[in-house]
Subunit: 219 residues, 2 copies
């Protein structure tokens, strides 16, 4: 049997190749229609859904960035100790030998074609998903910049100024009408009997939390 209703999508070699090619070409965050097209095309090589494409790019980009960040921080340490801030800028160029295809400046090789809507492409598929170039193009540098500046201090304040959504709301409310009752579930409100079945799996001991929706009790 070919396979059971595999729960998870797995790219076929062709699909993967194409996806990577596109990524290399600069596609990082394909738009709705792009994904649609990509999906349509890739579906020729095997089962695939839009979300797969979406996730693929999302993950790929994130991981790419992650690696880069890792490396950067590592090297940063070295340089940092040398107390030569300006050298950081050349960092990436300095050390990104060949391990992974960094957000290379595709701009000057393949993308331009798309930008002109000229079908000339190394790969038959790519030009279809050109998207824009500049954005992705800058992305690489941008990332580097961000990383560089952020360096070791990541995630700025999180409590101070939460953001637009919630914080603001709270402010508006001014904290007035809500007389936060008791810190514990009111007796009357005992809805769901807290099953003592031990659902509390919670890896509290773990360093962080995880959130697996219980909806997935699969094998």
């Amino acid at each position: 049997m070919p396979q059971a209703p595999s729960t998870r999508w797995c790219p076929t070699p062709e699909q993967l190749m194409i996806l990577e090619e596109m990524y290399r070409s600069g596609v990082r965050t394909p738009s709705a229609s792009q994904i649609q097209q990509i999906t349509a095309h890739l579906s020729f090589y095997g089962r695939i859904e839009g979300k797969n494409v979406f996730y693929w790019f999302q993950n790929h980009k994130a991981r790419d960035r992650q690696k880069l960040r890792r490396r950067l921080s590592r090297h940063q340490h070295l340089l940092y100790s040398c107390s030569h801030p300006h050298s950081l800028h050349r960092l990436e160029e300095t050390f990104h030998p060949p391990p992974l295809p960094p957000p290379l400046p595709f701009r000057h090789q393949t993308l331009p074609n798309f930008l002109h809507q000229v079908p000339v492409t190394s790969s038959p598929l790519c030009h279809c998903f050109s998207g824009g170039g500049s954005r992705e193009a800058n992305e690489g540098l941008n990332l580097l910049c961000k990383l560089e500046t952020g360096g070791g201090v990541e995630t700025p304040a999180r409590a101070s100024n939460m953001g637009y959504g919630y914080e603001r709301m709270v402010k508006m409310d001014g904290g007035s009408a809500i007389p936060q009752c008791c810190p514990r579930p009111l007796k009357t409100l005992d809805l769901f009997p807290t099953k003592s079945t031990g659902l509390k799996d919670e890896r509290s001991t773990s360093k962080s939390s995880s959130c697996s929706t219980s909806t997935n009790l699969s094998p």
Copy 2:
């Protein structure tokens, strides 16, 4: 050590259960005071902040909408392909029946209640946060209506609002955008034509300086 300063909140099973129950009951965008109350209650089951509740609802709502959209979109595709047997593109949804876990159905059993603005709540907690039932009530229908109407045909110019995460695109593609992507790598296919009607569509093209996909050599 109970736990390190976990960076991220993760709902305990109880919290999650309650939140879901409330959501099912119609709570979609709790007000500040509601959030506070909810938070107060949930805090009994574990650490939790108002913003967590806030985000949870926001994300959950979006996700829920995604599913709906996806559903509709799939439906569309089916219909589309039916009325257009000519369509070459075989959408994944079209030919792979039920390979993936069905996006469990919207609680039509519960929603109706709100529609009547009847605070019928299966859980004792709910009534505390009933807020304006009607509001949420309409929200549900509203969403459905919107999706249904917009889904089918050439969606006016409402491509702007799509889910997030991933489905945002699915919606856009709606049925109009899909060019004729052959099931196999074409030689010269037109890039995404319909791109975006006029919405922001910030991505691919850097800043929509003026043109769309064309040469957008950065400044």
